[in-house]
């Protein structure tokens, strides 16, 4: 599904990712763990198409060259990024935003767009599953939301847009244990044979609830070690400095 070959990324001439390699197959859950400044967020930004990086190398998503696609085209193809810091957009109603987004993706895929009633039914259902306060859907996007609510809103969007590859960028940070469980439940509910997850995190905590198939350790822009779920536990015990 996703193939990253020799990816190098620089920002303002500062090298962040070096010869980065990763392959994710349908149905797999990969976790990338690393300390602050190791390049985790850069990876999610590049995959979703944020500008401002100098990149070389190759990233294929279902055999499409990712770098030739605009941000929204990547979204149309099924890449979803749950932002580490979801943006507040004053004046834009959350429901309006979600509907516009969903229909833009459906349209690009040649699917039938949802009308207001169908959409509201869907969104209410999903909000209930995620214990997301329905009243917030009528408010401006993320404005006045708590940190946890913003993260839940990301997962809500994910469950509505049904992406093929979901990238969760430090979705666990700032969440209390109940919110963490809700988020994990949301992710687990979406796990299927044909869709995949890339979970970017600093701590092992989230991985207790979302069992990864593979764990990779990212240090200084490179994956220095890969393994199964047990690697996360090892990391937790030894710390990043003592992994090799």
């Amino acid at each position: 599904m996703l193939k990253i070959n020799n990816l190098n990324a620089k920002i303002d001439k500062k090298s962040i990712l070096q010869n980065f390699k990763l392959e994710i197959n349908p149905g797999e859950v990969h976790a990338i763990m690393g300390p602050n400044g190791s390049g985790k967020s850069t990876l999610s930004n590049i995959l979703s198409g944020k500008k401002g990086y100098d990149v070389t190398g190759e990233v294929l998503f279902e055999n499409n060259d990712l770098f030739s696609l605009e941000t929204e085209e990547r979204a149309h193809k099924g890449i979803f990024l749950a932002f580490q810091y979801p943006l507040e957009i004053p004046g834009v109603n959350t429901n309006v935003f979600l509907k516009t987004s969903l229909n833009a993706i459906k349209k690009a895929r040649g699917e039938k767009e949802l009308d207001a009633i169908q959409f509201l039914k869907l969104v209410k259902e999903k909000a209930k599953e995620l214990k997301f306060d329905e009243e917030k859907l009528g408010r401006q996007l993320n404005v006045g939301f708590s940190g946890g609510e913003k993260k839940k809103n990301e997962i809500l969007q994910m469950s509505i847009l049904k992406p093929k590859l979901s990238i969760l960028d430090e979705t666990d940070s700032g969440l209390d244990i109940d919110a963490l469980k809700t988020v994990a439940d949301g992710v687990n509910a979406l796990r299927k044979n044909d869709n995949s997850f890339l979970i970017i995190t600093h701590y092992q905590r989230l991985l207790e609830y979302i069992k990864p198939d593979f764990v990779h350790v990212l240090m200084n822009g490179k994956i220095i070690k890969s393994g199964g779920p047990e690697l996360a536990l090892e990391l937790e015990k030894k710390g990043y400095e003592n992994i090799n």
Binding site: E70, P90, V96, F97
Partner: protein, 415 residues
């Protein structure tokens, strides 16, 4: 220009049968204008918009005499159909028709007789120009406790062959105690390259409510100036909304004196500008007594070489304790040649007040665009959604639902 002015002024005096008092009033005003001429950038108020220069560059030499001997064809003016309304039609500065067909006739009085009036020398010379040339005096009085059933729409129109002309119109309004008026100004320009000068005087008695919506949407090459002078007694409310968009140049000036306790003034507006349009809103909100409130919100979306100016002033006298004054302006510059200038000014002499202002200008937020695009919207859609959201909160300030929807439709803004 001086000779032209003098000849045109004489012609105007000759055409109308003014009373001696009116003649004197007009002459005095005329002399003040002769002395001062069109405002230019040397005046603090006109620093960002040099009207003298703007007229020279866009029109050239103006003439000031309008021949009203021919009947103007008002039935050709395109009216708005979206809502039922009373009409007041102005063609080339002359009031051609007043029709309060939805209202109780004895609740509205229209005066043609001007009372004694002191000549104001220091506001700006355009008021003097207006007083010198505007023809028939007109004062509309809304009687005590009467709320108009339908809004009054004032159509500002020009004849097709009116060109290089200055037209002047003035209307006075008095809202008696507890009266309510919704007033919509619509611009229907049928010709180009004129300087249109409008002057409104409002007296708001106790507990009366004025809602004035100025909609400048049709694209044209006219230069416009509008001055609203509002005096507010206790518990009265004025709401002014300006959609500044179509004209080549438009300066809307609002002067509001809050002289009664618990009176409040709201000035909200949108600059939606394109091409080389240059628009300005200038407000003076004068808090002159305790417990008054004002709120101003101005949003700008600027394309191409357009330029928007917002000069908002809050004045608080030393008697005006417990004043609550707020103003905010936000601008989005969509083109590298667009320009936003602001002068948010506070002049405060009382200590127990809450006053603040804010102003921001810049490009569309790239991170928000990215966020929306990562959810599948293309750049154009993302931009539109953001601008939509940006404008929505000022449109939401409009308290009249019908007019709110009208403006939403005009701007293509959705909820």
């Amino acid at each position: 220009m001086e000779d032209q002015l003098k000849t045109d002024f004489e012609k105007n005096l000759r055409d109308f049968s003014y009373s001696d008092q009116e003649k004197k009033f007009k002459k005095n005003n005329f002399n003040v204008f002769l002395e001062q001429g069109f405002p230019n950038r040397k005046l603090e108020n006109w620093k960002f918009s040099d009207l003298n220069q703007i007229i020279k560059n866009n029109i050239g030499e103006l003439t000031f005499y309008n021949d009203y001997s021919k009947e103007n064809q008002i039935d050709k003016i395109e009216l708005i159909n979206e809502l039922e309304h009373n009409k007041l039609i102005i063609v080339d500065g002359k009031i051609e028709k007043i029709d309060f067909k939805f209202e109780d006739k004895d609740k509205i009085e229209v005066l043609a007789e001007q009372g004694e009036e002191i000549i104001k020398k220091n506001i700006n010379s355009l008021i003097n120009l207006n007083n010198a040339f505007s023809n028939k005096f007109c004062k509309i009085i809304i009687k005590k406790n009467y709320s108009l059933k339908k809004p009054l729409v004032v159509y500002h129109s020009t004849n097709k062959d009116t060109k290089f002309k200055n037209t002047n119109s003035r209307i006075d309004f008095k809202l008696e105690e507890n009266a309510c008026l919704k007033l919509i100004d619509i611009f229907k320009d049928n010709s180009e390259k004129n300087f249109i000068n409008i002057y409104y005087n409002f007296e708001l008695d106790k507990s009366s409510i004025l809602k004035n919506y100025k909609i400048d949407r049709s694209i044209n090459n006219n230069i416009k100036y509008s001055y609203n002078n509002i005096k507010q007694e206790a518990n009265s409310v004025s709401e002014t909304f300006i959609l500044s968009s179509g004209s080549k140049f438009f300066k809307n000036e609002i002067n509001c004196d809050l002289i009664g306790q618990h009176s409040s003034a709201f000035v909200n507006g949108i600059f939606d500008l394109d091409d080389e349009n240059h628009h300005e809103i200038k407000s003076n909100i004068n808090h002159l007594i305790e417990n008054t409130k004002s709120y101003q919100l101005i949003k700008s979306v600027l394309e191409k070489k357009s330029k928007a100016v917002y000069q908002g002033k809050i004045f608080v006298s030393s008697e005006a304790q417990k004043t609550d004054g707020y103003q905010l302006s936000n601008a989005i510059l969509l083109s590298e040649n667009s320009e936003f200038n602001a002068k948010p000014e506070l002049e405060i002499y009382a200590d127990d007040v809450k006053c603040s202002h804010g102003s921001s200008s810049g490009s569309l937020d790239e991170n928000s665009i990215f966020y929306l695009m990562s959810r599948g919207l293309n750049y154009k859609e993302a931009k539109k959604l953001l601008i939509n959201g940006f404008l929505l909160d000022v449109i939401e300030k409009i308290t009249d639902e019908e007019i709110k929807n009208l403006i939403k439709n005009l701007l293509g803004v959705k909820e």
